[in-house]
């Protein structure tokens, strides 16, 4: 999948988890480094910077948030958090601290790889400055600030466009409510989640074939929104409902 051999640092105190992650990433073409503790992870990240970090939150020596915060003080490496169910607040906190995405244990390898590639592509895109992004039938021309569905121009209000733009920049990864509210409406509206609900509904009516069955602008309940991964060709679409 990835053109250049990339490296991943897997941070988890459970050996069996590290083992299957190692195999999964190696089969996907990654070089894998492992760390058992937070301290070890920070040391490894300093000595041998990797292209991706997978960070488990239940480390024996340090709070996952601490590891993330320290790492982010010098590194913008794409980072996916391994979380447990029912900790929406913690997920939000870690995303706010700079994690690119999360997966909930237990998870399938494909899901983790998809999140990881999205996070890595974002960095790549940021460095390349791609002007046009495609999400199935939706394309966004970031330079012209224009949005098209199947080549037909869609008219968005400035705030709708701003919302879509932020989601597109993080496409494939979740963006928290707070981040979106702060970026679009400003700090004073950070708790006005209903703004988002109403704007997302409007946006979905304009870009989704069926706004009640969104395929592009997805909801992460209790956390935020996720625009599907940008793809190289419009032919690649998410699997339709009902297919295993």
């Amino acid at each position: 999948m990835s053109e250049t051999p990339a490296s991943v640092l897997v941070v988890d105190d459970e050996i069996q988890i590290r083992r299957f992650l190692r195999t999964g990433f190696e089969l996907d073409g990654f070089t894998v480094h492992e760390a058992e503790t937070g301290a070890e992870a920070l040391r490894a990240a300093t000595l041998q910077p990797s292209d991706l970090v997978i960070l488990d939150l239940g480390l024996p020596d340090m709070d996952g948030a601490d590891v993330l915060e320290r790492l982010r003080s010098w590194s913008s490496v794409p980072l996916i958090v391994l979380s447990v169910r029912g900790s929406e607040n913690e997920k939000v906190r870690l995303l706010e601290l700079g994690a690119d995405d999360y997966v909930v244990k237990p998870f399938g390898m494909a899901e983790l790889l998809a999140r990881a590639h999205s996070a890595m592509r974002r960095q790549l895109r940021a460095s390349r400055g791609e002007p046009v992004m495609k999400f199935g039938p939706l394309s966004i021309d970031l330079a012209a600030r224009a949005v098209f569905i199947n080549d037909g121009r869609v008219t968005l209000t400035p705030k709708e466009y701003r919302l879509l733009q932020i989601l597109a920049q993080h496409s494939g990864n979740v963006v928290t409510h707070q981040f979106l509210l702060r970026e679009v409406w400003g700090n004073e509206h950070i708790d006005d989640t209903h703004y988002l609900r109403i704007f997302v509904r409007k946006l979905r009516r304009k870009i989704e074939a069926d706004p009640t069955q969104p395929r592009i602008l997805l909801t992460e309940l209790g956390v935020g929104y996720r625009l599907v991964s940008a793809d190289a060709s419009p032919a690649t679409q998410p699997a339709p409902a009902g297919v295993a």
Partner: protein, 497 residues
Amino acid sequence: MRREMRGIAIALMFVAVTTAVALLLRHYVGILRGAVLYLVPVMLAGYQFGVIPALVAAIAGVVLSGYLYFAQFYSFKVASPQEALNLLLFMVVAVVVSHLSSQAKQHILIARKRERQMSDLYAFSRRLAMAPSAAEIFVAIQEHLADLVQRKVVLLGTADVGHGDDVPESVRAAVARVEHDEGLERTVDDGNGNIWLIRRVSPKTPDFGLVAVDLGNVSGQPLADMRQRIDDALADAAATLERLDVARALNEAKMRSETELLREALIGSVSHELRTPLASILGAATILHNAPALAKDPRLQALTSVVRDEAERLNIDIQNLLDATTISRQQVRPKLQWVEPVDIVNAAFEHRRRRLSGYPVTFDLDSNLPIVHVDPAQVEQALVQIIDNAAKYSPVGTPIRVAAHPNGQTVMLSVHDSGSGLTAEEKRQVGGRFFRGPRHKVTTSGSGLGLWIANAFVTANGGKVEVESAGADRGTTVTIHLPLSPEAEQLETTVDE
């Protein structure tokens, strides 16, 4: 003393009435020997007022009967020695009668008092015998003793009763001594002239605590009597407590609640511990499933999907147990936020996409539902349970319909299946913890927790779950009703564009 004077006065009145009667009898009937009539006032006075008024009545009777009946009529002179003897005899009889009648009265009074005490004690015993718990017994003891002494009674020293905040400071030291096993009982003056009795409920064991009884300002015989009665009552109470094995019951109750806690903790921690190996199993299975080496052999690949699907099922079971633990610990605390109802439906479906793969699922979702103020994760989990049930109790290939509609002051999220439905009896019981329809016990695995969890989560969010079915094998519709917040509409119009 005043009572005595009153008794004497009334006794004299009795004598006067007797005299009037004697005079009337003498004048109109001609009875000349009526001295015996004077025994009546003596008897009455003795019975009603005791010995002294009776004696006064006797003396008055002797004098008047001497005047009326003996020797010269209407004179105080006694004619013959025989009449003097008669008078003396009368005197003796009067004294004996007065004594006897006053004694009889005393005995009746004592007997009545005994009877009342016995019936009190008996009622107390019965109440003890029927007391369902130790706490009840202690209340009975306290009330009975308070009734007995008509003063303050404090029970203390067991978990079920207070710790003696009502006991005066000056009495505390004595309480502490008895509590620390320095003797069975002691009395102490509280400094205001009131005597307090502190006594262990049972002489055999300190388990039943102790009583502090304010006996008031008493001494001598009344004090001894009161202590005797308290002793009797406590002996009875202690015997009952022992017979009922209250000590063991108390300990068992404590153990039961500890066992319950332990069980909950165990479920919680075991479930938590199971999740880690399960994450490895499931992760590894997904890798194997897509591994090129196995893709060549469909039999092996089928096995990897067995591992994956069963691990997923186990994961669902563990999550249900964790949810059930949270619910039974009453730790369901919704984190409310504004949510698009359709998002909840889609998330729940997404979580069970694979589970539903064999069923044609249709959606009927209103695109313009008002937003709701709920905990999205909890409502989603409730809907997931309902979707699980729909798949579990309807044959593969039959349609499942998921709908979201406004309905008055609620938003309805409903799941309709064409499966085994519910009989009237099943419908009545469904939703109880661990309830499973007897028709499915053999054929379908499950814990019977699903609808119970759904109901707990939805209720915590101010909604309700409704189950409908036209009958056995006629499908089921389960609906979550979410409350509409009155602010919702207003919020929609105040968005900063």
